[in-house]
């Protein structure tokens, strides 16, 4: 197998920053949609576009990884970081798609709360990902990663509370199925954020 010995001038940090912006855009739009409780045609389209742009950025990183001989940190960590950030956008896009198909019309207090935790988690993730290029910021990055981990625990608790109330109060089985699915996917967003944060920590540990 031949890899080019003279790396192209591909700035991985720069592309991660760009991918991160799409993840932040998605989380802000998701919060807005959750607050309204209904997915407008316009917002559906916006979310799809963000997801599509994030996807292109992730593929650009992975494709350049395969063409580049020297990388700023371990190849498998670059791959994982690009892929998992993309997974965040994918699942936010999926949730919005489901809300649309399921014709949801009213805000749900738990989904609103999830969307707020998700936005905060992704804010912390942005600090972590952007801090990677500056080893002097190591403490800031580590604290941001710990925050992401705390939001994941908060999400677990919120899902259990929401599921407990759903099982107690929702007697329409199809409504039960819809909300169970959406709640679980909202919690999964926070799980994926935690995986991203752990990848960032791994990169730091190896550079230490």
């Amino acid at each position: 197998m031949l890899r080019r010995f003279f790396p192209k001038n591909f700035d991985f940090y720069d592309f991660f920053d760009k991918e991160m912006v799409y993840v932040e855009d998605a989380s802000r739009l998701f919060k807005e949609i959750a607050a309204r409780g209904e997915v407008s045609v316009e917002n559906r389209e916006k979310m799809r576009e963000i997801e599509h742009n994030g996807d292109k950025m992730a593929y650009a990183i992975i494709d350049n990884l395969n063409k580049t001989f020297i990388t700023p940190f371990d190849r498998e960590d670059i791959h994982s970081l690009a892929k998992k950030l993309d997974d965040v956008n994918d699942i936010l896009n999926t949730i919005v798609s489901r809300m649309k198909i399921y014709k949801m019309k009213k805000p749900n207090k738990y989904l609103v709360e999830f969307s707020e935790i998700i936005e905060k988690s992704i804010e912390a993730l942005g600090i972590a990902v952007r801090g990677l290029r500056d080893t002097k910021k190591m403490n800031i990055v580590i604290n941001a990663c710990k925050e992401v981990s705390r939001y994941e625990s908060a999400g677990d608790k919120l899902r259990d509370t929401a599921l407990g109330e759903l099982i107690e109060k929702e007697k329409d089985p199809i409504e039960f199925i819809k909300w169970k699915e959406i709640g679980q996917e909202a919690e999964t967003v926070l799980d994926i954020c935690k995986v991203v944060a752990h990848t960032v920590e791994t990169i730091l540990v190896k550079q230490a």
Copy 2:
């Protein structure tokens, strides 16, 4: 850790070709089953056998990978290709198993359509996988991979249409659950095909 320095005469291309045949067999049988809408005892057994044979082929590739020092392309790509092709068979087998357990008796137009897209996607995948050994066929392989990606998008749309109709018309919650599950798994087949195609593209990029 010691790896044998004198590679056994294991032809990875040959084994991928063989694994691919089982995936193609599975997709054709799945199309037939979807068209009938019911799983006969004979077809259940046939699908199980295909899955079992594909499994053995995937394990043969992975086990030989661990024993072989020189490989035609990156080890992790060989592992991923063998594993993901096997995942295609696994999930087709799972869908058929569910249709049997759920005692499905009539064809469903969406499942028929899915089975046709799946067959086409796997045909394109066959072109991609078999083209790997001949670098002169690079353009053919790349076009086949793009086709697989288009079928995945078509599958996404089909699942959304099917789910929209299901939520609209299916008032029996248990029927709803059954068809929602089967539709999602049918769409997942196309997702996995896309992952296989991307692995093939990765191998090509690295060889370029």
Copy 3:
């Protein structure tokens, strides 16, 4: 990227043994809970604690992997073994959490049977993982791995039987959803055990 050239004195085998003990604790507690059919506050807390301790052990292994230059076997296999053992605890903890949220009160014969197969599978896994440090025990390890694989097949059959009876007899859709979910997760425990066993086999093959 800089890795420390002088490995810290980190005994991976020792940590795998410790992680394994938590998996065994979880499986025994799970069997007890399944037999009672109800999750007491005390048992809920115990399971959470086991999961938490197992998690810390897995992170210790992965973090030390990133700091250590020389490892007893392939880095990716160490990572996979630590992560997948942790997944076993995670999913057992999830099942118990669901049983609590769903306010399950009575033992279910299939869940009892699952919990017994899970315990046996994890016993065999313990033999496999502990046998890794002693190449003279190779045959014992290989047999234990085969046993884990057989328990996985048994789990597949049990899930199909349980799902078939559920679809036949359970007319309350919300009860159907609950038990379908718990049955599938119980079967997934055995799938993950099989992945762990295959990782152990991979390590052996490479050392042969």
